[in-house]
């Protein structure tokens, strides 16, 4: 068949397909009348393109069909299932399973982070001047003011009233998720960036904890951090685990090429990050609205904090155990 015959025969069909595409691209393709025929029309078009190519029709003509196919491909292979449902399924079951499958990276990240944290805290308790090797005297003074046992509210923004819980929430989201994202992205530098941020944050937090405990501010400090720490510290180790996974894929790609290994690792790692984001949102909420309160007595705070740690532990070890739970 000559090209012009072929063209006249199918012209109307392509016109309709083009209009459907335009509607779908504008996000108005919800009418069932419009999309009922779409997959079939797309596959007919593919066949016509293959015919046009094998019959040696003109380049420009083939390109025109190719463009239509390309746009069709883009619409047909689109993920349209509602995001809310997928997220819910992921957080109810998938995330716990994922963390358990990647427990080696989480263990490594936790070891580095908590190891440096506890080590530094112990060192600062033994040699109090050591805190100034990491943190400037002004910042130490600021920390001391924040956790002064006589203050009415604790933590950053402690000097302000409770109307500012919002400010704190916003600040914590900004600040902590930023740190988690950096810890993850640093994994791309053969894991070194993640190692650095895990160690660095561990050392800083450890130094502060050691210093405040050493000068007798232990009760306000620990009762402040224990609640949201369950989510915040776990999130940092999750982000670190995700970064280490990226790094491991680059250092030891196994049977894949490096770029292939990186792609596979990144697909998993970004899910760990999704979990870390949820944890950090919860942590920011607790930190702004619960940890900063001073009227619950310290034992209550410790009890609630311990409960939250248990909750996180139970969630990570138990969720998604029963098959079909989330699906």
């Amino acid at each position: 068949m000559k090209q012009s015959q072929f063209e006249t025969r199918h012209q109307a069909e392509w016109q309709t397909f083009d209009e459907t595409l335009a509607a779908l691209e504008r996000g108005k393709g919800n009418q069932p009348r419009l999309i009922a025929d779409f997959p079939a029309a797309y596959r007919r078009l593919c066949q016509q393109l293959a015919l046009a190519q094998s019959r040696g029709y003109s380049m420009r003509f083939v390109e025109r069909l190719q463009l239509l196919v390309q746009r069709g491909h883009h619409q047909l292979y689109r993920h349209r299932s509602p995001l809310g449902g997928r997220l819910l399924g992921f957080f109810l079951g998938g995330f716990g399973r994922l963390v358990r499958a990647e427990w080696r990276y989480l263990a490594a990240a936790s070891l580095i982070f908590y190891g440096s944290l506890l080590g530094m805290a112990g060192l600062v308790l033994a040699f109090p001047e050591l805190v100034y090797s990491l943190i400037s005297p002004e910042q130490v003074a600021e920390m001391e003011a924040m956790y002064d046992p006589d203050a009415s509210r604790l933590g950053r923004f402690g000097e302000r009233g409770s109307a500012d819980d919002w400010v704190m929430f916003g600040y914590y989201v900004m600040h902590n998720i930023g740190i988690a994202f950096q810890t993850f992205a640093g994994g791309l530098l053969f894991g070194l960036g993640s190692l650095f941020y895990l160690l660095f944050n561990g050392l800083i937090i450890g130094a502060i904890a050691g210093h405040l405990t050493g000068i007798g501010y232990d009760q306000p400090f620990w009762s402040f951090v224990i609640g949201h720490g369950a989510f915040e510290l776990t999130a940092i180790t999750l982000a670190g685990a995700a970064g280490l996974k990226l790094g491991a894929a680059l250092v030891a790609p196994g049977r894949h090429t490096r770029s292939e290994a990186l792609r596979v690792a990144a697909a998993t790692a970004v899910q760990l990050i999704a979990g870390a984001i949820l944890f950090l949102l919860i942590a920011a909420f607790i930190e702004a609205y619960w940890s900063s309160m001073t009227y619950p007595s310290a034992p209550v705070k410790y009890a609630v904090g311990a409960l939250l740690w248990l909750l996180v532990g139970a969630y990570l070890t138990q969720s998604g155990r029963r098959s079909h739970a989330a699906e």
């Binding site: 380049m59 919002w166 929430f169 970004v270």
Partner: protein, 226 residues
């Protein structure tokens, strides 16, 4: 072909042609996005300064969204295009030509942080210049590629000529070449057309001056009755 087209085979057995965008258009798109984000932040800053402390909290949240989610939200919800990419006619897709989703968009935009090291997108630019499809590190990890978004191609009209069958059998490539010559006649100068056509004069058994009309005629007959 002598270009950097990326061929992707679809499940239907059709080759998609993707044209990856190089460093300069991508940098321009990013600069434009940066400007827009800057303007957004400035506007937000003024608006929330007026709202006092509640505004500060909301402002911090919005700052976070603009800083970390601007690219992701636009890419996923606007067919792979941020305003900057849209302006330059680019969009980001998966390596297999399918639309970008939440996970891959999040990956490539979080890893931007490493592309920016040690300053001003140095690593990202190096990687982009080195990679055959101009990918930066984030693209490598997410399995995405930034490509040109083709606009509609209108097939040009063939020059008017009487259809004459070719005097000798033609291969597919030769047919393509003859039709392409006829389709592009309006973009070439008369001297260049004569020069190109006269190469075939002998094979087509016509005088060099008539070769051009003859090629048009053969192209006409190949395409079919108008």
């Amino acid at each position: 072909m002598l270009d950097n087209t990326l061929r992707v085979e679809t499940p239907e057995g059709i080759d998609l042609l993707l044209r990856p965008a190089g460093l300069v258009p991508r940098a321009l798109a990013f600069a434009l996005d940066l400007l827009i984000r800057g303007a957004l932040l400035a506007a937000l800053g003024v608006a929330f300064a007026l709202l006092g402390k509640f505004g500060m909290g909301v402002g911090a949240l919005l700052l976070f969204i603009v800083q970390w989610w601007y690219m992701v939200l636009f890419e996923v919800l606007n067919q792979g295009r941020t305003p900057g990419k849209q302006w330059l006619g680019l969009h980001v897709v998966h390596d297999d030509g399918t639309p970008i989703g939440w996970a891959s968009s999040l990956t490539r935009n979080l890893l931007r942080f490493v592309d920016m090291l040690p300053f001003g997108y140095f690593l990202g630019s190096l990687c982009c210049l080195w990679h055959p499809s101009f990918k930066r590190l984030g693209d490598l990890a997410a399995g995405t590629v930034v490509v040109y978004r083709e606009s509609n191609i209108s097939a040009p009209a063939l020059p008017a000529a009487e259809a004459v069958a070719s005097p000798l059998p033609l291969t597919l490539a030769e047919q393509h070449a003859l039709i392409a010559f006829a389709e592009r006649h309006s973009t070439l100068s008369a001297e260049r057309r004569l020069e190109l056509a006269s190469i075939l004069a002998e094979a087509l058994q016509v005088a060099p001056a008539q070769a051009e009309t003859r090629i048009h005629s053969i192209a006409r007959s190949l395409v079919g009755p108008a």
